[in-house]
Amino acid sequence: MQKLVIERRLCLKSGQCSYLQPDVFKRDDENWPVVTIEHPEGEQIEQATDAIEMCPAQAISLVEEDGS
């Protein structure tokens, strides 16, 4: 199963992810991005991938999670 993660260490608060893909990301009160769908499926994976490609900080990724 794939998990959508944002590395805050890299994040630049550009806001691109929540703006381009509001179904999958939102912003908190301090404008940090927050993943709203941790385990995207189907079309959500495409949405997540779009944000991953557009992120100027390269801070978003889909990581494999073992089922255990």
Partner: protein, 415 residues
Amino acid sequence: MASDFDFFDPEFQADVHPHFARMREECPMAHAEEPFDWYAVTREKDVRALLHDWKQWTSELGPGLARSGGGVLVSVDPPEHTFDRRLVNRAFTPASLLAMEPQITELIDEIIDGFVAKGEGDFMQLLAVPVPLIVIAWLLGLDPDLVQQMRPRADSVIAPNALEQEEMARQMAAEVESEGRDAARSTASRSMSEVQYFLGTIAERRAMHAAGEEMPQDTLTALVAAELNGRTLTDDEIIGFMGFLFIAGSATTTQLIGNMIYRLLQNPDQMDLVKNNPDLYDTCVEESLRYDAPVNGLFRTAVEDTEFLGVQVPKDTKVLCMFGSANLDPEMWDEPEKFDVTRDYEDLKLHYAFGQGIHYCMGAPLARVEAKVALKLVLERMPNLRLTGEPEEISAPVLHGVETLPVAWDPPLKS
């Protein structure tokens, strides 16, 4: 009511830090009345609030002081902005920009080869100007030699005289009203003097596309191949993109490289730290961006009558979001007036030099790579770098930095 500050005053421009500090403390929503009423916000939280609220604070009337209709990227909001940004990103992904580091290293090495024996010269003309121009030429599919000759004209577009800008804006506003956005895009594009050269290049690329030839992987190819609502982009639209990216990608990075080296020369202790710790290159670039933001700030426009910080702001009023001041706000930074290359990188990278929110600079990864490689090679190949005279400030109010930077260094011994 008189203006709270005079952004165009050479005295203001020559030393922006104390002016920013006074504005943050005394008039956080500062009023100016030249050449017409506008405002500037200087506190970090206010700059942030405006940049993130694009529905209330639009970019549709342009990022400059003039109310310019029609444009690309920095001059549009969603949905056009979304389309524009995606389009350029195809050829401009952060990953692909970062992957240019070896190519940029080779370029800067070659440029230094060309002048290093001289031992002295103007750092801006020798290095800070040509590097970003050549790199943006590669990305756009333009001829690097021709592009270098265009530099002064490109600068005149990013920072024209405020009154001329206003006149141009008036004409365009009239056109927007009578003929709609596409016509205005056309006027905005055609006002650029690079237009003939760009047209020729676009025609060549269109011919390649039509003939099904293999296309270079650059922005021009992405633009020629792009489809918007089932049609391809017009020449004017493509020129709009190219012109904007050309300007945004060159003058700003030139200032970054110049500002960084100038600030290090003024702070020998910091210079030594960086020299002895290559791990600090990234932090040094970010600290330069924070301390000397190459773009002082960009404008947003109120979409309706509103109130901000207790000030009544009529619809269509421009507000300058002062990136350079947000970067020095003591509410956000410890000892903000100290140039310190050892700051914590994770906090430091959240400066406002590239803006924030949906218009966050697309070229940021590229600017960062160019500056880092330039820093590394200047330190390695221009030993004992020192100032030999007083630099001249750049005359464009939106930009912050030096126009000239007279330096000397120890040339390599002749073998």
